[in-house]
């Protein structure tokens, strides 16, 4: 009974905390409830994960201590929200359609939606089988995230041992989002239930799929959303990655959330500073999930500076950069604390600057890395990238995109990330072919949901060839 109440409390805190964090924006950001719920859940998950980490560092994160800290944090946020609401009530609030379209126009969208439903059922059945047979996950999840969760949960006095395990094998320099999320649920349960890691993994799969579907349905109609969902759940690498309980799908969810809030803000006339602050906040949360999130923060920051082709010196650019910086700095705090005080240096620093220069001056390496990366991008068996090229040819590009700046920023971010990955492989201390082969597909998995969002935001889908989709309240 105590465990049940505790776990109910644990989930309630995620919902209430996320809602409160998101509340100042939601009141001026009238989006469908389902879409808002997904964003609230992501904000809540980030909040409780960070609280758990700081609780460990201060009073050891016992069940009651943790609950008290979470209640206190919610109370503090509530005070802030009430203050903000009083200020906002004096200004006019934005008005927009608050519902998802309830019907799908045209048979292609309906067929795709039905098909996506079938895929989700088949996927869920597969996930359950996999989780029952292998609750600890794939070896990478075992040694990095689930191992880390055990270090944080099992001995609150010696949780710092997490950073003393071998760097090359266990990656103790990794951020602690997933580890703290799992350890927090164990703390509330009072035991190390094997159901928790798969539950968290499935939760992020559901959130990423729901975020992709609801955001596209809201911005581009349900048909586009259904097509995107089919390609997401039908991608081998997405399925494999989520079966494995690794952090690629969770980080992909936060990468997608950054671009989605930017798009929603633009669509609903949220001012530049606020929408870029929201995007920055979700980007910072991505960096708390995985080291690659740091590169994403820089890439989206570069897109904020260059911003959809506008001259960089305009006042608008200043607002974008300021907003983005403010949002990102707040959610990057736990990452900075972790990296500065706790985590050992990454194994990627092996060899020092001299070794990096030697690699960069090796001419043959440039072509080798490029060739290997291109070979992965055009593979048909795992990711739908060649399929998307074909669909773009058939559908053609939309000229009037309601969230054009956000789409441009997203495309630029993906391009910057690709350049970042390229440079990363250029200086890797490992064999280039081996490193690209074992990691690049996973990096592409992290970009799959946002890639599909950007694609279906820009390309016309069958029902728009002839007419629009009906929206009903």
């Amino acid at each position: 009974m105590a465990a049940t109440l505790s776990i109910v409390f644990a989930f309630a805190v995620i919902a209430v905390g996320g809602r409160l964090v998101y509340q100042p924006m939601l009141s001026r950001f009238p989006i469908p409830r389902t879409l808002a719920s997904v964003l609230v859940a992501l904000a809540g998950l980030y909040l409780v994960s960070v609280l758990y980490f700081f609780s460990l560092g201060s009073f050891g994160a016992s069940r009651f201590g943790l609950a008290a800290a979470e209640v206190l944090a919610i109370a503090l946020i509530l005070v802030g929200v009430i203050g903000l609401r009083n200020r906002q009530s004096r200004s006019s609030s934005a008005v927009a359609d608050n519902f998802l379209p309830t019907t799908v126009s045209g048979w292609p969208g309906r067929v795709a939606l039905l098909f996506a439903g079938g895929l989700i059922c088949a996927y869920t059945a597969g996930f359950v089988i996999r989780s029952v047979k292998a609750p600890h996950g794939y070896i990478d999840a075992v040694i990095t995230w689930n191992r880390g969760a055990r270090f944080l949960f099992r001995d609150k006095e010696h949780w710092l041992n997490n950073f003393e395990v071998l760097v090359g094998q266990f990656q103790p320099d990794y951020p602690l989002f997933l580890q703290s999320t799992i350890a927090r649920l164990w703390t509330y349960l009072g035991s190390e239930s094997q159901a928790v890691p798969p539950l968290v993994a499935y939760g992020f799969v559901a959130l990423s799929a729901a975020l992709l579907y609801t955001s596209l349905a809201h911005l581009r109609g349900r048909a586009a959303a259904a097509f995107a969902l089919c390609l997401l759940v039908g991608s081998t690498i997405f399925v494999k990655s989520s079966f494995d309980q690794v952090a690629d799908v969770p980080i992909a969810t936060f990468i997608l959330a950054s671009i989605v809030v930017l798009s929603l803000g633009e669509r609903h006339g949220l001012n530049t500073l606020s929408r870029w602050a929201l995007a920055g906040a979700f980007a910072g949360a991505a960096a708390w999930m995985k080291n690659e999130g740091g590169l994403f923060v820089m890439a989206l920051g570069a897109a904020a500076v260059l911003g959809a082709g506008r001259p960089w010196f305009r006042q608008e650019t200043l607002r974008r950069v300021l907003g983005y910086g403010l949002g990102a700095v707040i959610t990057l705090i736990p990452v900075l604390v972790l990296k500065l005080w706790y985590a050992p240096p990454s194994y990627l620093a092996d060899g020092g600057l001299d070794a990096v220069i030697v690699r960069l001056t090796d001419g043959s390496r440039y072509l080798e890395v490029l060739g290997l990366m291109v070979a992965h991008v055009v593979r048909l068996d795992t990711l739908p990238i060649p399929v998307l090229a074909l669909l773009a040819l058939l559908g053609g590009f939309e000229r009037a995109i309601a969230h054009r700046e956000a789409v441009m920023a997203g495309v630029m971010t993906v391009a910057f990330l690709m350049i970042g990955y390229y440079l990363f492989y250029m200086v890797t201390p490992f064999t280039v072919a081996w490193h690209v082969d074992t990691s690049f597909t996973r990096l592409l998995t992290q970009l799959l949901p946002v890639g599909l969002f950007l694609f279906f935001s820009s390309v016309r889908v069958p029902h728009t060839f002839a007419g629009g989709e009906r929206k009903t309240a």
């Binding site: 795709a112 600890h136 070896i139 949780w159 071998l166 097509f227 739908p384 069958p462």
Partner: protein, 216 residues
């Protein structure tokens, strides 16, 4: 024209996940057997499956290797203090031909024994042993085994291969980072006669050992 585009667009979107699912199904021996029984074997063998597609089915089929380590190491935990750094030995296969047996054993042991920290150093006084049987453990205690660890100084590679007929015990399991398979295979281990004393047995080849040579 628009109708044709719509049909093609929809078909392409649906075909992609369908092809992925078909690839997974082809990798499943159970589905293969069923299709063979109903006489559709030829139609079912269209195209080739890729490693990634096979992996999806492999993951559904395989039991968790972590589970066996969990049960084997659970009795040890009350006897180990989290503030200790402790070594690890195993007789899992020598890393020839890309096998990562010893490495896997080490990784799963660390997972099972958290928050105790396992080291890759051979200077630990106490060592967790994970052997295939109790008889290997006995040989170790009698000094009949060979302990091979990451070499600290260059040694003749022939020296290690000459000793492969003896029970080979690798300590520590890992020498190079996991992400360097080529270096990993090139590694040469330094091997010595085992000088361990059994501190406590836990059955199934699991024990806590004390390094006698370090005490001398």
């Amino acid at each position: 024209m628009n109708r044709l585009r719509a049909i093609l667009f929809t078909l392409i979107v649906l075909l992609f996940p369908a092809a992925q699912f078909f690839g997974w199904a082809q990798s499943s021996s159970a589905i293969r057997a069923f299709v063979g029984n109903v006489g559709l074997e030829r139609a079912f063998s269209i195209g080739t499956t890729t490693t990634d597609q096979q992996d999806v089915v492999t993951r559904l089929r395989q039991d968790d290797p972590g589970e066996s380590f969990e049960s084997r190491f659970a009795p040890l935990r009350p006897f180990l203090r989290p503030d200790q750094h402790i070594g690890f030995v195993t007789d899992r296969a020598w890393p020839a031909g890309g096998s990562r047996g010893p490495e896997r054993a080490f990784l799963f042991a660390q997972y099972a024994l958290a928050p105790l920290v396992l080291t890759d150093s051979d200077t630990s006084k106490y060592v967790v042993a994970s052997f295939s049987s109790e008889s290997v453990l006995d040989m170790m205690a009698e000094g009949k085994g060979t302990v091979c660890s990451k070499r600290q100084v260059p040694v003749d590679s022939n020296e290690t291969s000459d000793r492969l007929d003896e029970p080979l015990l690798i300590q520590p399991v890992i020498a190079a980072p996991r992400l360097r398979p080529l270096d990993y295979l090139r590694q040469i281990y330094r091997c010595d006669k085992s000088t361990f004393r059994i501190v406590r047995r836990f059955g199934d080849g699991v024990a806590i050992l004390e390094s006698v040579s370090l005490g001398q």
